[in-house]
């Protein structure tokens, strides 16, 4: 399919947003400016953006602990995300969610999940409401190779297939679950599991190419929107940083050579080169884009710093939609 240039530039913009946002967040964790830790999507930007941009504005999405890329890829504003990471009142979740539990309902982001696998049924439910209400919305669940061994995924795949729900199961296979190499805990090829649940299963070997990911996911999204049901898309990629920022393990569980090879395949650089080659954009445009995004990230930090902390009493709000009455 031919994609208009401004859409391609928007892809690069969102990949840059993720890259710069996560690089900044990493620094801030190490400086103690962000409490707890963060899990960056650095190195996985193509896989995230290629998938998220294959969805429409109104479509739904859920994610996991590696969480910033998903809403950014779906188009969320950076300020409220950064404010959330520092635990401020202007955060997208008012400071209650933090890095692992971002959600931005304005862009169809129904929530990341700190519990591995746990958001897959939620995405399935969003697809169910689309089906029942007939509103044509598609749902996508981001989860990792590690999450792919949680039973709820197969319950979700089965029910989605039986009910022909408009959902994409998007497996971010970055080849490790924390310190555990996927091949040591995973039987067979994940994408091949889809066939047993009567749905297409695609494995994208080059997860560093945003266009390749986009094409694969777009096909699945079109299929879902046409009422033909769910698809499983496995994208092979690699995380450039440690599992979480600041984590230091005594063992080096990742093969050095393999790592070096993957670091060569930086999705942001690759797509930049592609756009120059294909003269989709010139150096000036791209440099300008990068400067713009960097400014956006600076602004998001400023926004976060400006924001007040939440009030002590906010800790007791939003548990229910109304005061609990008799028990309060």
């Amino acid at each position: 399919m031919t994609i208009p240039n401004d859409f391609l530039l928007e892809m690069q913009r969102r990949m840059l947003r993720i890259r710069y946002f996560d690089e900044r967040a990493s620094k801030m964790v190490k400086r103690g400016e962000i409490p707890g830790t963060v899990h960056t999507s650095i190195g996985q930007e193509a896989q995230v953006v290629g998938a998220a941009m294959a969805l429409g504005e109104g479509d739904y999405m859920t994610g996991n602990h590696r969480s910033h890329g998903h809403p950014i890829g779906k188009g969320a504003a950076l300020g409220p995300l950064m404010a959330e990471l520092v635990g401020k009142a202007w955060g997208v979740c008012g400071g209650k969610g933090g890095s692992m539990h971002l959600a931005d309902f304005k862009v169809g982001s129904l929530g990341e999940s700190g519990i591995v696998g746990s958001s897959i049924p939620i995405a399935t439910g969003a697809a169910l409401s689309s089906k029942v209400l007939g509103n044509g919305k598609v749902s996508l669940a981001f989860f990792g190779d590690g999450a792919a061994n949680q039973g709820c995924l197969y319950e979700a795949m089965n029910i989605s297939s039986v009910w022909k729900l408009p959902i994409i199961f998007l497996c971010e296979n970055n080849q490790y679950a924390l310190s555990t190499p996927a091949h040591t805990v995973t039987a067979g090829v994940l994408a091949n599991r889809a066939a047993g649940f009567d749905m297409p299963g695609v494995r994208v070997e080059d997860g560093q190419s945003v266009l390749t990911v986009y094409d694969a996911v777009k096909t699945a999204v079109d299929r879902a929107r046409a009422g033909q049901g769910p698809s499983f898309v496995e994208v092979v990629t690699y995380r450039f940083n440690e599992h979480s920022e600041g984590l230091r393990l005594a063992v080096d569980y990742r093969d050095a050579e393999q790592k070096a090879a993957w670091l060569q395949r930086d999705p942001v650089k690759l797509f930049r080169a592609h756009m120059l080659e294909q003269s989709i954009a010139d150096e000036a445009t791209l440099a300008g884009l990068e400067a713009e995004v960097m400014a956006e990230v600076d602004a998001s930090v400023a926004f976060a710093n400006e924001s007040p902390f939440p009030e002590l009493t906010d800790a007791f709000k939003d548990i229910y939609t109304e005061p609990l009455g008799a028990t309060q």
Binding site: K96, G111, I120, I159, D318, I319
Partner: protein, 336 residues
């Protein structure tokens, strides 16, 4: 007014809500065949078969996949539907515990109020019917320990209909624990729409000597016990909280302020059960009114055995409730 069974009342509330709002759907195992009789009475024809009334888009048989069933209902509730999930037996809820706790109960809070969760999870507590340990649990205390969920434990057809209707209309997740023992219980119930608020206890019977808080199937047992005790000159005030979250602590505290004595009859397991919480609330907030120890009549800390010879002794009944009341009445208030 018409005579309705507890089970019929549950069906009526669901039918009413489905008529009133097309966003309400029912999903669960074997709901199409109405195996548990909770959708329009024991027979499909009686009061109309839900599948025929509302169609397959709104009445959905699920695979045996509790985890995705619960999570999908939550996701659907976050995006415009108002699902009722029929989980049949309460002992099956554990299969979906992660979804209940980490998604249903926490999402709205974690996301700073961006989402609401209008969903009802119904399940029946099949205790007392020789179904043994895999079908007889009364697990509501576990869910009371996790904020974010509302919990109803109706003890009469009227409460079942009124509370369930409120639950379906509510924007927060509700867990409805229905006592199978009560399914056949009948009384006059308003056929029209009515709602019973959560967090408002029902004074089943007024009395002056002892406050007796009774939950679910223990309510009718408490009433029997009270009759016996009246004859002995002991006046018992019976309170049915009807909902455990929110819990109407004022009703209990006010009653204890008058009686000075408290007995709690709760079919859940003893340790960390609902009775423990009610006892702790009173020991904390009404200590000065207390004239006697607070007694709990609960299922002891055991699993449910199959043999009727073993099972029948376990639950709160008119006899062990009456014994507990006699104990607290005999205790002399301090300083006398």
């Amino acid at each position: 007014m018409t005579i309705m069974s507890y089970l019929g009342a549950i069906g009526a509330a669901q039918r009413e809500a489905m008529d009133a709002d097309s966003r309400v759907i029912i999903m669960g195992e074997d709901v199409e065949a109405n195996v548990y009789g909770t959708m329009g009475g024991k027979s499909r024809s009686d009061k109309g078969d839900f599948l025929q009334l509302f169609g397959p888009n709104r009445i959905r048989n699920t695979p045996i996949s509790e985890e995705v069933m619960v999570g999908a209902a939550a996701g659907a509730a976050m995006t415009g539907l108002r699902p009722i999930v029929d989980l049949s037996y309460s002992t099956f809820l554990y299969m979906a515990m992660d979804q209940f706790i980490n998604q249903v109960a926490k999402s709205r809070y974690m996301f700073g109020g961006q989402s609401s969760m209008p969903v009802v999870f119904r399940s029946a507590m099949f205790y007392g019917l020789s179904t043994a340990a895999h079908h007889s649990d009364r697990p509501y205390p576990m869910f009371m320990n996790m904020p974010g969920l509302k919990i109803m434990v109706p003890a009469s057809p009227t409460d079942a209909k009124g509370l369930l209707r409120s639950a379906i209309d509510m924007d927060d997740p509700v867990m409805s624990f229905e006592a199978c023992m009560l399914w056949g219980m009948k009384e006059d119930v308003d056929e029209g729409e009515f709602r019973i608020p959560f967090g408002v206890a029902r004074i089943v019977k007024e009395g002056t000597d002892v406050t007796l808080v009774a939950i679910s199937s223990a309510v009718s047992q408490a009433v029997l016990a009270a009759k016996t005790l009246e004859a002995e000159g002991i006046s018992v005030e019976i309170i049915d909280p009807r909902t455990l979250v929110p819990f109407d602590s004022d009703a209990v505290l006010n009653s204890v302020a008058r009686t000075g004595r408290l007995v709690i009859a709760d079919p859940a397991n003893k340790t960390c059960g609902a009775a423990a919480e009610i006892s702790a609330i009173v020991a904390e907030q009404a200590f000065d009114c207390l004239k006697a120890p607070i007694m709990r009549v609960t299922t002891p800390d055991t699993h449910i055995p199959f043999s009727p010879a073993l099972e029948k002794q376990l639950y709160p009944n008119a006899l062990n409730i009456a014994d507990a009341v006699r104990k607290v009445v005999q205790t002399k208030p301090r300083g006398q």
